[in-house]
């Protein structure tokens, strides 16, 4: 889940010229083939649409209980 402040994330993505990160075709096939994984946008500064993924990935599929996830601030990476 990409969770960064609005503006910075989009600028970073634009700079890196990686439209694949914003392509969600057929089960994120492009992302998976290029990066071996997938990323979902979750703007913390935005409305509740983005927080859907934060909620979703914290839900244990087997029990429905909350589970911990690790947040990485992409803007803070070297």
């Amino acid at each position: 889940v990409i969770s960064t402040h609005a503006g910075r994330s989009s600028a970073s993505i634009r700079r890196s010229s990686t439209p694949a990160l914003l392509t969600f075709d057929s089960g994120r096939a492009t992302q998976k083939s290029r990066y071996g994984g997938e990323l979902f946008p979750a703007e913390t500064a935005a409305d509740r649409h983005g927080t859907r993924f934060i909620d979703f990935f914290q839900r244990d599929k087997d029990t429905g209980a909350a589970k911990g996830i690790i947040g990485i601030d992409l803007g803070g990476l070297p």
Binding site: E43, G50, R59
Partner: protein, 146 residues
Amino acid sequence: MITNQRQYLITKAEIAKFEEAAAAARQSDSSPGVDPLIHKAMGDALASQLDDLKNDVLEYETLRAGGVRQRVFRSLRELPQALIEARIVARLSQRELAERLDLHEQQIQKYEATGYAGASLERIQDIADELGIEIEESVTYTVADA
């Protein structure tokens, strides 16, 4: 893959939430303070995940309804999925299968969650027998170079 009723109900509840979020996202072309590029990506991402969840539910419902009778697999690596599917098609819960084999429910849950990692061949055979799986498969050997 959904393997039991609990996961099924949880997934259905997630679908309802994703549908609400996706519908809300479609209603606006922008979000305050969010780059339009990211706004569109959020909507696409929601729709994409929603598709995944719906496919999972459809797959499970089809199996439960007996809509799948046979699979063609090309590798033993796909055997665990066959065992899981066969149980769902037989409408046996993980607990019911475990009871038939005199095992704990958690053991079947663990097998299925790990793709039957660590299960002995004998155990796999017992489960396949209990589920009434028939395998008609040709095995091709690789001949060593002379």
